[in-house]
């Protein structure tokens, strides 16, 4: 099921903020549409939805969407969102971050938001690069991937966000891509049902920077590669945690990979899973637990007052 784009634009976007600053063909537009659709299908009241974003191309999204929105500082979105959620536990909070935002500068905030299991849907747009600042290496740049700060190919091991989320205590983890739009929307809907910290990692394309430097200058080439490089999750087939997606060009699969391939302790997984990766049953959002505690304290106070 999909609603008309014109309806999404009218209902969920801010006309005065458009057109966006994003490049033509950027996956971020698809992601914004999927978020709007998911909110729509869930029947959420816009007044009760907050979008808190960091800084980056991804971070710009909060400006375009007609919710209660905060475009925060680089990496700090989970901390701003934690304050908001604790103050207004009844609100649906969407925290939107880029890969650098979430895993590099904001890594600590992300870890602790997951540990606290604070109720929010965290959208991490993984385009393997720092988009806004001009294509520098990010914590998910694959080994060998060319960036403006890894001219001979990146030689660092990328972050395994899935494993991090699992150990830090996130309630839910799904991976989607901008190629598989129907499941993208569905996975965000699923995340919206979670009580606690629900993370949706979305593989996106930055064809103008990362793509261009890695023989995938066309958005369509990059998006097609996402189908080649990902499998849909199958509950019986869920394997151990994987490296983030390795985006190789379908025409020349080994093209970007010539730097430091001798780094032999790195798992070489050419495909990665999409779908719901894990979900912790019985998870309860921190803000809910906190307000339950306040309720108990209030009861004790009443009982004490009655004694007097």
């Amino acid at each position: 099921m999909k609603v008309q784009t014109s309806f999404i634009v009218k209902e969920y976007l801010r006309p005065k903020m458009l057109p966006s600053t994003w490049c033509g063909g950027c996956g971020l537009g698809i992601i914004m549409g999927a978020i709007a659709q998911a909110v729509h299908f869930k029947g959420l009241d816009k007044d009760n939805v907050a979008m808190v974003s960091g800084i980056g191309c991804t971070g710009r999204m909060s400006g375009y969407m007609d919710f209660n929105t905060i475009h925060t500082t680089h990496g700090r979105a989970p901390a701003f969102a934690t304050g908001l959620k604790m103050a207004r536990p009844e609100m649906t909070v969407l925290t939107v971050m880029g890969d650098g935002d979430a895993m590099s500068i904001g890594g600590n905030h992300l870890i602790h938001a997951m540990r606290r299991n604070i109720g929010m849907v965290a959208i991490v747009v993984n385009n393997s690069v720092y988009g806004l600042t001009g294509g520098q290496t990010s914590p998910t740049t694959p080994i060998g991937g060319h960036t403006t700060t890894a001219q001979s190919g990146s030689f660092e091991r990328p972050m395994n966000l899935e494993a991090l989320a699992r150990t830090a205590g996130a309630a839910f983890y799904a991976r989607a891509t901008v190629n598989h739009t129907a499941s993208l929307t569905k996975l965000i809907e699923r995340a919206l049902d979670v009580s606690g910290f629900a993370l949706v990692e979305i593989i996106s394309n930055c064809h103008v920077l990362f793509g261009k430097m890695n023989q995938m200058a066309e958005a369509s080439t990059m998006i097609a590669a996402m189908d080649e490089d990902t499998w849909r999750t199958n509950p019986t087939l869920l394997r151990r945690a994987h490296l983030p997606i390795r985006l190789t060009s379908p025409e020349s699969p080994s093209a970007p990979v010539h730097a430091l391939t001798e780094m032999d302790d790195v798992e070489d997984e050419s495909r990665t899973w999409r779908g719901v990766i894990f979900e912790r049953k019985g998870s309860v959002d921190l803000s809910k637990r906190y307000y339950n505690m306040l309720g108990r304290i209030r009861e004790q106070q009443r009982a004490a007052e009655e004694m007097v």
Binding site: V52, R76, A79, L84, M86, M91, H109, I111
Partner: protein
């Protein structure tokens, strides 16, 4: 009935916060501020408020801005190293005009410095710590009573002018135990941020008012506005239009500059016939006041100005002082951060001297008096 109480400065800050209506605290422990968090972790749940210990001071500052947008009065407390970490999101609160209170109990720096020893070395960081030009309000208490009163005032000013307010305490007043009087709740003036009366479509969250601020509804109240750290239009949308930016700057500075009568706060002590004046603030003002009474016992015409609003600086008060006394002495636990400000304003019309130390030892009243006497001996 006003309640007499006996407590230390950090406790008075915590109680002042509760009295002012603070219902959200996020912080990260650091000496000598930690008691504020410890006390509020007990007090806030008692009044239905939120206490959360964050992963660091960057997150603490972020959380109090997020919670303030949720409609609560919010605060965090820290000391030097944590205050440095807060600067990034303090700037965010400034530009996005979100009320909140940041308490910095100063210790000797830089870096880990002397963690348990008092200093006043963050005066300029409190003014200019975050990058870029910006308005800010900074208050400095010198007694346990003022810890309570100025904390209430910090919340009121934050709400009134939609700005972060820094309460610049120090390890002298924070640990000091003395009497204070807690007024009846009904007698404590409380200001709450104004709420919009227009329909959501007509609401401008950042209206460029001259000398005033736009109302600020809670998230979730139907106004669905945008908050950003980018320079923005009256609707909160990013802009690079120089004309709009100049109107924005005008709004940002006039909301403070046009309200100095409300914001500035100082006290004149024994100044009428004074020939020499002390200018002091925070913990050091205590020694200065003592020095004034010692001097008066000995017939020395010493007076003083105790500054409670450090920023914006009470410029006219100091300019006027230059015409009234021959010498101004500024004792402070740093190497002259406020003295330079005083010199700038006095502009040669009176002699200005500093008494400075930053070794963790307080400036004693006798030390101040010695300096004053030394002046008298100069022909």
């Amino acid at each position: 009935m006003p309640t007499p109480a006996f407590m230390h400065g950090n406790q008075a800050v915590a109680e002042g916060a509760i009295a002012a209506g603070c219902r959200f605290y996020a912080g990260y422990p650091i000496t000598p501020s930690s008691e504020i968090a410890e006390i509020l972790s007990e007090r806030l749940p008692q009044v239905g408020g939120v206490f959360i210990q964050m992963e660091d001071e960057i997150a603490s500052m972020a959380a109090i801005v997020g919670a303030s947008l949720g409609g609560l009065k919010t605060a965090t407390a820290t000391s030097g190293p944590g205050f440095s970490l807060m600067q990034e999101n303090l700037g965010f609160a400034v530009i996005s005009e979100i009320p909140c209170v940041v308490i910095n109990v100063q210790r000797v720096g830089p870096s880990t410095g002397l963690p348990t020893r008092a200093a006043q070395g963050d005066v300029m960081q409190a003014r200019w710590g975050t990058h870029g030009d910006h308005p800010i309000i900074v208050l400095s208490p010198s007694s346990v009573q003022e810890c309570f009163d100025l904390t209430v005032r910090a919340f009121n000013l934050a709400e009134r002018f939609r700005t972060p307010v820094v309460l610049l305490s120090d390890a002298i007043v924070s640990a000091l135990r003395e009497k204070l009087v807690i007024p009846d709740a009904a007698d404590i003036a409380i200001f709450n941020r104004t709420q919009p009366t227009v329909a959501p479509d007509d609401y401008k969250p950042y209206e460029f008012l001259h000398g005033d601020v736009a109302p600020l509804p809670r998230f979730g109240d139907g106004y669905r506005f945008h908050v950003t750290g980018l320079v923005h239009t009256e609707l909160g949308y990013p802009t690079e239009d120089a004309e709009i930016i100049s109107r924005w700057w005008e709004h940002m500075s006039s909301k403070i500059e046009d309200n100095l009568d409300v914001i500035l706060d100082w006290e004149e002590i024994e100044l009428d016939d004074a020939e020499v004046a002390l200018v002091a603030y925070g913990g050091t003002a205590r020694s200065a006041m003592h020095a004034v009474s010692l001097a008066r016992e000995q017939g020395i015409k010493l007076g003083m100005i105790k500054i409670r609003t450090l920023w914006p600086f009470p410029e006219q008060v100091i300019r006027n002082l230059a015409g009234r006394v021959g010498t101004i002495i500024v004792p402070e636990l740093n190497f002259g951060q406020i003295r330079l400000e005083v010199e700038r304003l006095v502009a040669g019309r009176a002699a200005v001297r500093g008494i400075n130390r930053a070794d963790g030892i307080q400036i004693s009243p006798e030390h101040i008096l010695d300096v004053v006497r030394g002046l008298e001996r100069v022909p």
